[in-house]
Symmetry: C2
Subunit: 875 residues, 2 copies
């Protein structure tokens, strides 16, 4: 096995083996661009290092040294030589970009003797000492883990002594002193002299870079960005070029286009007489790349041409590092540049217009998951830069929210009437909090995961929400919130939450409104022209439906009828229905709910004229709706003509040990068929009423929680009997579909049988994930954090479909479903339907549509398009 590749041997498609940086250095080399010569030690070598108990194998060391020899031949310099010494840089570079996460060592190969001969050779003692002191500090930090601040302190002391503002103000003597003191400090801290053997320096440095793959910040970064822990990093070894050679030298970074707004113009900054790290470290304020035009016009023209070449070659905006050594330009890195969602969109559309890329290529350039950034409020960038989050939780629903904190829905509503901006703070939310959630600018909860009540409802509302913020303490009674640092906030204090990042701030922050440009429309139309999946929305109100339609939803894929019961007057009747002691009283209560439901459905049908509306019948366990307060129970008892004690016992009896697996979904209609009858009346009568007004209603009735063929038959029979009777009597021709959710593992196993009685399946992957894993979504966030910490899980299975388990079930359900009914319509309506990776899986499995919350509709459209393009490209 070959562990080392010279740049001439590599190319840009070898990033798995050479890392991103190595692959692109090879590519640039082969494009004939000015790249310092060098080679790459592969990611396999890194994995070998870890398998080998963190030792570099002798074979690998030999291969490295052979390549050093080749590099010596190419450069005419010699590693450790006292005549024409070769210095090198040692840089990490993994498959995915992990900026600043791993370590770099520059100027390696220098020692006392080499320094002396370099001074002779260059006649630039300041440059040599500057290089040496930089090397000592980096080496001490990276290889030996010594405290960098100790070295910086010395530099500061000497700068103060010499009254120098910047390190560039220090002359050769001063730099010499720095170097000597660094060496002494190293000896003091480490207990031995600074290593003089370049080969030892090199091997130790390579090992240190391998090791840095597993440093804490790299681990956290990978987890945040879903980068697998077993990829490993490559190491790039290059002949040094010196930006610190003097005032005709410098170093910088630049983008081929503006990464913030997408403008087609070089964007970047550089420092004269500096090495790479100085730009990042912010020791001096770098200059805008524009100024290079006047300072070094030739270099600027050359750089601009290189940038154009790279952009054309990579067909993407590039993020480049460069060094100017004594009037010569060298390229140290290029990669596809990170950009805001806004910039990504503009660049993609511009590049198509410039003829640089096709529409399909443009679609692949925007991360679907970032799209809803464009649709939500954000914090003011400048203000945000100055702040640190006081804690973080789960980024449950995107957007930025700021306001005075309140601890219950009632207080929120009162504050709103006073004209205040508010945030709702809760242990967890329940249906009773809905009004408060509507009125607040955002929601912060201590418990609950990505599919908790707060998260689901907030996403539906397009309201920002941070969930599962378990390291704050909320006392709802005292109306206080205690931060991890011990600070306690009270009702009325300001906080801010960012539902896109999960960050929480204990202060007010200015927000700015979302702006969607014309590019958005153009771009999304391209997406629609290639995607095969239809995108519907989860919407329970005409307002949600309206928003989703604006974002391109082609129907409602999930209307949760229980959400229609949350209003105050409605819930009372609903509670009467649940607790009714006999059929007659239950029917009475249902008859009071019927007009509300019918009216709601009419509005939905009107909003969604000509588009399908999937209506899911009552799903959650009944006790979720029950009153908790004594006074409410008393009022209810009065209306039901029941004794208070009797009602209280009935409410008690409805409690369940595991409500998620309890009396809910279609099981309610098995016990109380009259519920399904009422809901069918509401749906069909609404359809008839709007049809009379010229609307084309397309109701699709969906039965939740089906697990058995006879169960489906029983309920379908109730629905069809009721519906057909009403239709017959009305004389209006109404077409309706009846389908089922597939959210119980058993439903998958018997999907062929179910399909014979279903017009459509909608995979409810929230519940399916719960039951397939046996993870209660309300409880699992507590223990899953240990799964992430111990690297057992890399992703949240409630956020992205678990392809290996749940995905297999969905696939089996599709195969069996089509076997049972070749014309069956197949969709998904869990939270996964708004996640790009999951949508790709849905496309692959062959679903007809996905249905997500309104603000995820553009994400879903783009993700569907990308999945179609990738499939086509792979053929």
């Amino acid at each position: 096995m070959k562990f080392v590749y010279s740049f001439e041997e590599g190319n840009k498609d070898m990033r798995e083996l050479l890392g991103g940086k190595g692959a692109n250095l090879a590519e640039m080399t082969n494009l004939g661009l000015p790249v310092p010569r060098g080679f790459t030690i592969t990611t396999e070598a890194c994995n070998n290092y870890y398998q080998n108990n963190q030792n570099i194998d002798n074979n690998i060391i030999n291969e490295i040294m052979q390549n050093i020899t080749k590099l010596e031949q190419k450069t005419g310099k010699k590693f450790g030589s006292d005549t024409k010494p070769l210095l090198i840089s040692v840089r990490s570079g993994s498959r995915a970009s992990m900026p600043g996460m791993m370590d770099t060592i520059l100027n390696l190969g220098i020692n006392d003797q080499v320094a002396t001969s370099l001074i002779k050779l260059t006649n630039n003692p300041r440059f040599v000492c500057d290089s040496y002191r930089r090397f000592i500090e980096m080496y001490a930090d990276v290889v030996d883990g010594l405290d960098r601040n100790e070295f910086e302190k010395i530099l500061s002391e000497i700068k103060e002594k010499k009254q120098a503002q910047f390190d560039t103000d220090l002359d050769a003597n001063a730099m010499f002193e720095v170097t000597m003191r660094f060496k002494a400090l190293y000896k003091k801290l480490k207990g031995k002299n600074f290593p003089q053997d370049p080969k030892i320096q090199l091997i130790e440095a390579v090992a240190a870079v391998f090791k840095s793959w597993n440093n804490e910040r790299a681990e956290v970064y990978r987890k945040m960005n879903n980068i697998p822990h077993d990829w490993g990093t490559a190491v790039n070894i290059q002949e040094m070029v010196y930006g610190n050679y003097g005032n005709t030298s410098g170093t910088g970074v630049a983008f081929t286009r503006n990464p913030a707004n997408g403008e087609n113009k070089l964007y970047g900054e550089y420092l004269i007489n500096a090495q790479g790290e100085d730009v990042v470290a912010g020791i001096r304020t770098p200059q805008s790349i524009d100024t290079l035009k006047s300072i070094m016009p030739n270099i600027y023209v050359q750089f601009e041409s290189v940038a154009k070449t790279l952009e054309k070659h990579y067909k993407d905006m590039q993020d480049m590092e460069f060094t100017i050594e004594n009037g010569h330009l060298f390229m140290l890195q290029t990669r596809n540049g990170k950009r805001t969602a806004h910039a990504a969109l503009k660049i993609a559309v511009d590049m198509v217009n410039e003829g640089l890329i096709t529409k399909e290529e443009a679609l692949l350039k925007v991360d679907p998951n970032t799209l809803d950034q464009l649709l939500h409020k954000t914090f003011d960038d400048e203000e945000l830069k100055k702040l640190h989050p006081c804690t973080t939780g789960l980024a449950a629903s995107p957007g930025a929210g700021t306001g005075k904190i309140y601890f219950n829905a009632e207080d929120i509503s009162k504050a709103k009437q006073r004209g205040e901006e508010t945030l709702l703070i809760r242990q967890e939310t329940s249906p009773e909090d809905i009004t408060g959630m509507k009125d607040a600018n955002g929601i912060l909860t201590v418990h609950g995961g990505m599919t908790s009540h707060a998260a689901v409802v907030a996403r539906g509302m397009g309201k920002c929400c941070v969930c599962g913020c378990t390291n704050i303490t909320v006392n709802e009674k005292d109306k206080t919130l205690t931060l991890p640092n011990g600070k306690t906030l009270h009702e009325g204090d300001y906080m801010s939450i960012d539902g896109t990042t999960g960050c929480v701030y204990d202060t007010q922050i200015k927000t700015k409104e979302a702006t969607v440009s014309g590019d958005f429309e153009t771009f999304m139309n391209w997406a629609d022209s290639v995607k095969k999946l239809e995108v519907r929305t989860n919407a329970d109100t005409p307002k949600d439906a309206e928003v989703a339609k604006k974002f391109g939803a082609k129907g409602i894929g999930l209307c949760r009828t229980e959400h229609m019961f949350f209003d105050k007057d409605r819930i009372f009747n609903f509670r009467m229905m649940i607790t009714a002691p006999d059929l007659e009283k239950r029917k009475l209560a249902l008859s009071k709910i019927l007009p509300y439901q019918r009216n709601d459905f009419e509005k939905l049908f009107e909003t969604m004229n000509n588009l399908p509306v999937v209506i899911r019948y009552l799903d959650p366990p009944l006790h979720e709706f029950l009153p908790k307060k004594d006074e409410e129970i008393k009022e209810l008892a009065l209306s039901l003509n029941m004794e208070y004690q009797e009602l209280k016992e009935r409410i008690e009896a409805l409690k369940e040990f595991n409500p998620m697996m309890g009396h809910r979904g279609c099981r309610l209609s098995i016990t109380y068929p009259e519920i399904a009858v009422m809901q069918t009346q509401a749906v069909i009568e609404a359809a008839i009423n709007v049809t009379k007004r010229g609307i084309n209603a397309k109701p699709e009735i969906m039965i939740p929680l089906i697990g058995d063929a006879k169960e489906l038959k029983y309920i379908k029979n109730i629905i069809c009997t009721t519906a057909n009777e009403i239709i017959k009597q009305s004389g209006v021709n109404i077409k309706y579909l009846v389908g089922t959710m597939i959210e119980i593992p058993r439903a998958v196993l018997i999907a062929d049988e179910l399909a014979k009685n279903a017009d459509f399946f909608s995979f409810g992957t929230n519940d399916l994930t719960q039951l397939t894993y046996g993870f209660s979504r309300d409880d699992s966030s507590k223990f899953l954090k240990d799964y992430y910490a111990k690297r057992i899980f890399e992703k949240d299975p409630f956020a992205t479909i678990d392809e290996e388990g749940v995905g297999r079930l969905v696939e089996l359900g599709v195969t069996l479903g089509k076997k049972g009914n070749p014309n069956i319509e197949l969709g998904i309506c869990g939270e996964h339907a708004g996640d790009a990776d999951s949508i790709a899986l849905c496309h692959k499995i062959g679903l007809n549509y996905v249905s997500c919350s309104p603000y995820r509709v553009p994400t879903a459209r783009l993700a569907a398009a990308i999945a179609a393009i990738r499939e086509h490209n792979n053929k």
Copy 2:
């Protein structure tokens, strides 16, 4: 399609089509036995009747009438004739025996004219009038649904008037009067004359029998006996023979052997001058069959010979109906007789000894599910006959228990000290009730299903238990229990429960001890010689293990380590472990638990010398173990050096919304690896200690609730590292296996991956059923009753494996498991492992062993043998 078969056309293997009675009448006809001639209308005709909106198709009517014509030709009589009239009987007969559940009409074909001519023909007016009045009453009841009591009242009046004790004491005139008044009553009740057209009588009677398939008692019977509702009943039409012809006539029922104790001797009873229904109705006291020997010696000899012929032919004990008409014997029915478990065993063993059947045939003759009747106390039969249950619940753990009722474990224990016999009454049980459960004679709970805590623990203890008795109200605080009839019982009142039937009585009932005869041993050895499945037991204590070994268990398939924490001193340390605020305190608590666990394991290894012992690591959610009472929390806080309030909050924080899908099983060891370390120490050190004493310990460590390959690797690594280190230090050679439960649907889907790291799989079908259906086992009994009532479910999926869903998953798990590890050992340890049907499935799927509670071990051995025999027979 042919809907009617003459007896000559049928045989005993056609019971699906002809029903049991029809098939056996055909068989007896073809054996040359004296059977009244006739034909059978098939079960398909019944199903056709239901599909046809409860109408008999004209084609079927024609076929029936053609067969009547054939019958007329064979008998030389004519239906409705006034010279030689044919009367017939119309009897139901389904595939499975459903004694007395459906309807029968005798003497059909009689009308005023026929009666007159019959009197002429027979010169026996009493017999004719007796037949006519019987027909009117049966017809009025069965066809028209009129109240039979109204007719019986008239008969009583006339008997009183004539001072007759029995109906046989009435003379021809009196019978004539009865007949006339019956006709008048019919007209009064029905508003029209009694139908005179024999064809109408016949078709109405056939329809009525079809209809009786769905009467309430038949439905209940089918549900209790797991008979599918869609089988339908056949109808048998036969020439009448008359047991009511006079004193040389009679009718009776008999068994070829004693159905109560199995003695090989005719057993039965008969009535002189009576028709079939009289024996059942108990109008007169029937005589023992023995007396027939002296009264009609020829008939007795003939009957004895027929009985022998039938037993030999059917190779089973027969339950026969016969009629003697004027000195001639006629056989009206034969079928395999029902018998007690005790008789079944004796008959099976005797028949092998008599050379009548093979051992394999003998094994098939005993229902495995009845075997544990032999191992448990039962109620005194005589006392039980006089009583009605006051309510019923789930038959959760077999046996009979009687005693004074108490409402908590403490009161039970106090009562026991006073020498009282007790029953524990609870809403539901929890680990804290264990001592009370041990001390009581039985357990009755309001909530919970077949796999609830009470049920599982009771079965493990061999203690009788009735669960899910939802129509009684228990007030634990007031210590009262209210029955469905409103009667309230108090602490100290007597009750009795039958865990084999689910019956509950509000009085004391004498019980008798179990007796196991020598036949049992012989029979079970036959079972072992043919079965392929190994049978292990679920046992948590040496006592359980001892019992199970006595019943033939070949190892422990499931030791639930959490059950070892229930003792009072142990649970305190366990609670300390759970609530410990930091690792150090948790380790301290664990170190106190270690000696207990080690000691327990040593005892188990000793009891199970040379046999495998599967030890499952901690499984249930931690909060199940937490103290609820304030004083307990205070005591615990003191030991942990925590504030009371802090501990209370910690306990509160451990509560979960859906604990079954929460922080439990292997998830506990992901968070707290030190638990797995301690348990491994205990297992391995115990194995070392007993090995030093010459015991051959075979520990198999089982990890519960695995759902991911990395999760398994992580925990297996902890176990193996700990175990190997201890073994190495001890110098004792200990072999141990590490395996996993398969109880999460996802584990099935990735079983190939899991198998690579598992020595064995044990299917935990309780949890697998919960998650596959999404049925919380603690909550589902509440709503599943509606599923049974509406015929959506026929069986309890927690009692018998759902073959279509859960069964498929188990099969997939086996296939994938063997793919990943061809040597993997496969078992099942859910409650299903003690259910005969489920064991048959386990055999079919190819598991290596089943593990059930001690008292189900014989059931499992026999069920396994039967499965092996059936498989062999089907080849």
